[in-house]
Amino acid sequence: MDFQLNETEKAFQKKAEQFVLSAMPPGYTDRCLYWPGAYGAILEFEERDPAIDRFRERMGEEGWLTMAWPKELGGGGHSFIEQAIFAERLSYHRAPGTDISTLIAAPTIMRFGSEEQKKEWIPRIIKGNLRFWLAYSEPNAGSDLAAIQTRAVEDGDDLIVNGQKIWSSGAHIADYAWMVARTDMNVPSHKGTTLFIVDNKTPGITIRPLINIVGFHSFNEVFFDNVRVPKKNIVGEKNLGFLYLMVALDYERLAIAIGGFRRQFDELVKYVKGATRNGKPLSANPSVRRKLADLAIDIEVAYNFFFKTAWMMDNNQMPNIEASVLKLFATQLSRKLASVGTEILGIYGQLEHDSKYAPMHGQFCVGYLDSISAVIGAGTSEIQRNIIAQRGLGLPRK
């Protein structure tokens, strides 16, 4: 065992840190309200910011977006541990990171797409200037994704799509939908669902904003009214969409902004060290000390799950339990960090980010609201526990 980074990994971490610090738009780390593990306060969804686009392009140009891809496909061939190291530094500085296009679309196209699709999509994704949104959830298909009702019917060289998607993060600033719809209603949905790509500009698509609890426009509901999609946009084989979805879950295992937890914590500790209450240093308050120590330990546990998951993937072990435990634990921690953090801030904990009295730009107040989403999005805690129990421990479904 060696819990330290080796020399190569340390050098890599340094390089990653230097990149992030040099490429981040000035002031972004402080301006950004992103809460670790949560989905609502994502600044880049508020408006498409050219500075963020430029950051992504630089990530593309310098190979960070494709660091995990095999070298023969133009990637960096880096290990999962190195991806984890990079992701940790990226999220520590609250930088925009990998997204649907790099995390899900590109790997799926590389594995299951046609040669034409690879040529059409991969180079654009590598450059970092193409955005996808995830068109999975529907009003009646949340945790039960198999219940989707949106239909895609063949018509000559096209599919004609009708239905509605919801909780569509960033659909309003994206270029394409990465979408699943039913293509055969006579079989169970896992055998009759197809994965395809839809241009956001196609006639018949209506995108309506949903303002989330933080006050941000992150979600949308998206309506499809006789939307024509060329069949060449079908990814993989028709009717096998759910299979590709399941496989893609493997690519998302490390998509938790692990460094963000430590960042918020470091700032909280810094605040506590400088603050006084009742004429005494806040850092001398036993209750505050206990709470901070408790958070430090939880963050350590989350980091351990994170790196263990990466390490297992590098060593060809399936982190089925570990990846779900990571998601479950980290998102619970997202809430705890916000909850305990606002407690420590006392009466100031309720001040929103635009108040001049708000400690740390109101990060914790925003986080307190945003962290509601953490244990719900991308598979609720309950779904994660089902996965751990059934897939991990082999407990029966019935």
């Binding site: 065992m1 060696d2 819990f3 330290q4 980074l5 080796n6 990994e9 541990i81 500790v269 506590v272 060290k273 850092s283 505050v288 000390r289 206990r290 901070l292 120590a293 408790d294 430090a296 330990i297 350590e300 546990v301 351990n304 799950f305 790196f307 263990k308 390490w311 297992m312 060593n315 339990i321 570990e322 779900s324 435990v325 479950l328 634990f329 309950e382 994660q384 526990r385 089902n386 751990i388 129990a389 059934q390 991990g392 421990l393 082999g394 407990l395 029966p396 479904r397 019935k398």
Partner: protein, 377 residues
């Protein structure tokens, strides 16, 4: 970064697991828990033959030259199976005290006999105050002639009822700094003036009250430097905390495995109770606690093993694992229902040890305090 065990460590884990399952069945665990001695000489000798007592001690004292991490792997398995007896007190507490503070002669003689299994030895530390703090040390050792006279009462001394020797932590000088003036003495348990009474404890693990009344100790039995014993104890307590975590990780894993197996078999409402989400979610929470404990414990053990300053890692591990094992044991009990509440069932053996483990070498709050200091508060 390498988060896996070596091949040798995997082999050790596997062979220890198999050995203990065969040689230390729960029937024996119960007998020993309920016995006066609290250990089996037969099992002790077999463990000695496998070289377990000397696993992590240097070869020149008769050990196997393994690492603290190797010992962690073994303790993990011992916690999984439960092995009542003086292994922990002899090897972790006394063995490491001798290794860190003993002179060559003491190490050759006493650590040598620890490695062969010939010697049972323990550390007498805690007093009426009940804390792991130097201020609590009131037992005195006063110089007289060519030796010292020991007076005082020690509590929670593990396995003192069967021990050959004790390392007694005593005050040799009153000082404004409580850490100063504490000395470690090697005391023959048969010395006149020693009275030992086994305390009735939740884990039935033979923690004892030991009263020292004018016990004579030769000067040559000082271990380490006169008056400079406390830093040694602090260092050993750190190792003991991680070692206890390792046992608790094993105990928590065993509790989880037992509960999951039962949930797959137990049928109510015409279906295995493991198919109910309430039970599945308990199991998922247990996995989180078990794996969380394992990773944080092995990280601390690795840091100790590498000789790094591991204060933060150790305290994080002990704070987390102390509470995690309790949570796991409680949920396991919930899954077993009424049958787990009986003496015939194995679950209480773990439930008891979760509490004992929590209290040993600093509970969660004790260690959170250290973590708070370590993060600069």
């Amino acid at each position: 970064m390498d988060l896996g065990l070596t091949e040798e460590q995997e082999m050790l884990r596997k062979s220890a697991h198999e050995f203990l399952a065969k040689e230390c069945p729960k029937k024996l665990v119960r007998e020993l828990d309920e016995s006066d001695m609290g250990y089996s000489k037969g099992l002790w000798n077999k463990m000695a033959q496998l070289g377990w007592m000397g696993l992590s001690f240097p070869e020149k004292y008769g050990g196997n030259g393994g690492s603290f991490l190797d010992l962690t792997v073994l303790l993990d398995e011992m916690g999984y199976n439960i092995v009542p007896g003086p292994f922990f007190s002899t090897v972790v507490l006394a063995g490491y005290t001798l290794l860190e503070a003993g002179n060559e002669e003491q190490k050759k003689e006493y650590l040598g006999k620890v490695c062969t299994g010939e010697l049972i030895i323990t550390v007498a530390l805690i007093e009426l105050d009940g804390t792991y703090d130097a201020t609590s040390i009131d037992t005195t050792a006063k110089a007289k002639g060519d030796g010292y006279i020991l007076n005082g009462t020690k509590l929670f001394v593990p396995n003192a009822n069967v021990t050959d020797y004790m390392l007694v932590v005593a005050r040799t000088k009153k000082s404004s700094n409580p850490d100063d003036g504490i000395t470690i003495f090697l005391v023959d348990a048969k010395s006149p003036g020693i009275r030992c009474t086994v305390l009735k404890t939740i884990a039935r693990d033979k923690l004892c009250e030991v009263v020292f009344e004018n016990v004579k100790i030769p000067e040559s039995n000082i271990v380490g430097t006169l008056g400079r014993g406390w830093p040694i104890i602090e260092s050993v307590l750190k190792k003991a905390a991680v070692a206890k975590c390792a046992e608790m990780v094993g105990g928590a894993q065993a509790s989880l495995d037992m509960a999951v197996n039962y949930a797959k078999e137990r049928v109510q409402f015409n279906r295995p109770i493991g198919s109910f989400q309430a039970i599945q979610h308990y199991c998922a929470n247990m996995v989180t606690d078990v794996d969380g404990s394992r990773f944080i414990t092995y990280k601390a053990a690795w840091a100790v093993s590498e000789g790094l300053s591991a204060d933060k890692e150790v305290s994080m591990a002990k704070a987390w694992t102390s509470e995690a094992f309790k949570r796991v044991a409680v949920l396991a009990h919930q899954i077993f229902g009424a049958v787990g509440f009986t003496m015939d069932h194995d679950m209480h053996l773990y439930f008891r040890r979760a509490k004992a483990g929590e209290l040993a070498y600093g509970d969660a709050d004790f260690h959170r305090n250290i973590v708070a200091q370590q993060i600069g508060l």
